[in-house]
């Protein structure tokens, strides 16, 4: 609604403009309404399906049981301690793994991408490394670093590194030859070209990979905990699994989903800030 007043303040908006703005606002509302409606519909059908014994709550649990489980965790804490502490442990592993993995990935990707021969030699191995399931390394890290935080961070790093590395590398390779040539002619040194041309061109690739890789870091941390840990959401899941507590597994998933969603929002905000030079992907009609 702010948009409407802002427009009228500058220039008196015409009938059509106002209509277009109203249409856009209405559409926005419709989307939000449909999102909420879909969630309610899914949860209700799930609950009802269990109540009318169409599906077995032993495997699939039910929304009310998940809610109760979350309530218990929030008020009384989990068997391992308060929920927030478990979450904090997982978050610490995830964020550490994410930061180390992406910084290493960006650095190596750009360094290798700038070197033609090294790039040609390594590109095949990057594809291989991206294709093999790296979670398997979790077992090795547990052996190497023990049950503490180190093994989880290491797994998260490995999960993140290759994705970011691959994208940074590709982004460098795709940097516009003309822009690079132009920079050299304008007087740039190789270093300046790397920092003022290659890195900014690769940035949209890198940021795109950060979205995926935060999820990967979370997977790394949780799987690491799953394989063996003293704290964390992964351990919560594995405990719930051990006691055939499906609601516990789902409740952990809800907690992780909230975290992932929050991270996604922050990353999108960061991306919008860093890539404000990019043309809008689509322009909202009338906005």
């Amino acid at each position: 609604m702010n948009t409407t007043t802002a427009t009228t303040a500058n220039t008196p908006a015409s009938e059509e403009e106002l209509a277009a703005i109203a249409k856009a606002v209405n559409r926005q509302r419709l989307v939000i309404f449909l999102r909420v409606a879909l969630a309610i519909f899914t949860l209700t059908s799930w609950e009802l399906a269990v109540r009318y014994e169409l599906i077995d709550p032993f495997f699939f649990s039910q929304p009310s049981a998940i809610y109760e489980q979350l309530y218990v965790w929030l008020t009384e804490g989990t068997a391992q301690g308060p929920l927030w502490r478990e979450l904090l442990v997982t978050m610490e592993e995830t964020v550490l793994g994410f930061l180390i993995g992406s910084l290493l990935g960006i650095f190596c990707g750009i360094a290798l991408g700038r070197n033609k021969l090294a790039g040609d030699v390594f590109s095949i191995y990057i594809k291989v490394a991206n294709a093999i399931p790296r979670v398997v390394l979790g077992s090795i890290f547990i052996i190497m670093f023990g049950l503490g935080m180190g093994s989880k961070v290491a797994l998260a790093v490995v999960m993140v590194f290759f994705v970011v590395f691959g994208n940074a590398f590709q982004g460098v390779r795709e940097a516009d030859r003309n822009l690079i040539a132009n920079a050299y002619i304008l007087g740039a040194s190789k270093r300046q070209v790397t920092f003022t041309v290659v890195f900014p061109s690769a940035l949209s690739w890198i940021l795109a990979s950060l979205h995926v890789s935060f999820g990967f870091a979370l997977v790394g941390a949780v799987v690491g905990e799953f394989l063996g840990a003293r704290h964390g959401i992964g351990l919560l899941i594995s405990t719930a699994q051990g006691s055939f507590n499906a609601a516990g597994v789902f409740a952990s998933m809800v907690v992780l989903a909230v975290v992932a969603l929050a991270a996604e929002y922050s990353l999108t905000a960061l991306e919008d800030k860093l890539l404000k030079w990019r043309p809008a992907q689509f322009v909202e009609h009338g906005m």
């Binding site: 003309n178 040539a181 002619i185 304008l186 900014p200 940035l203 030079w277």
Partner: protein
Amino acid sequence: MPTPVIELTNVSRKFISAQGQVTLALREMSLIVNEGDFCAIVGPTGCGKSTTLGMITGLSPPSTGSVKVFGKPVTGIDPNIGFVFQADAVFPWKSVIDNISIGPIYRGKDSKTAKEMAAEWVRRVGLSGFENHYPHQLSGGMRKRVALAQTFINEPKILLMDEPFAALDVQTRALMQEELLGLWSEKKASVVFVTHDIEEAIALADRVVVLTKGPGSVKSSYEIPLARPRDVSQARYSDEFVHLSKQIWFDLKGEVQI
């Protein structure tokens, strides 16, 4: 005796693709541009005009033959050369003012001085008020003007331009042509100007070089005896101009006939 600043002697350029396919872009091309000369190059599309400029900058070395700039064989990128690319080559993540000030910054000026120099150029290319726009917010012609300012701010001794005004409307083009001539006579730069537009070539240049169809070499070369300073918009109506224009048209037509 005029001193040559650019000398191409029997230059050929082959492009070899990853699949091993060979394209000959230039064949035995020879061209001399003297100090302070304004040389225009016209030729059919794909005849190797951009390739020629690329070799002078040092961005892509010739396959055979020699390219000399300021009497020395070209081995790298000469800081005295400015090059306005045919394709869009402004940095999309930099605002207009940052795009224009980047040359001086690369060359070691502090950013405050560079910004001041750039502000002057923003005005000269008629982009006042757009300093903080990003290239995607500009029209094609405005982007071209950013590219021109970006090159001119370095005050190159040799100015290579690859169809710089092709994207501009008639009025802006005339303005930019005047600006270019003003700049050229003021700084006495040597200019190599590639264009599709014969009239533009005649109106601006001391010499128009016509290339054969690809693989290109020099077909003919015309001295343009029109007096300086020239009024670009008026020059085209003189008899001399019309006569030259017909001659060059005739030469080119022979090359593009299929």
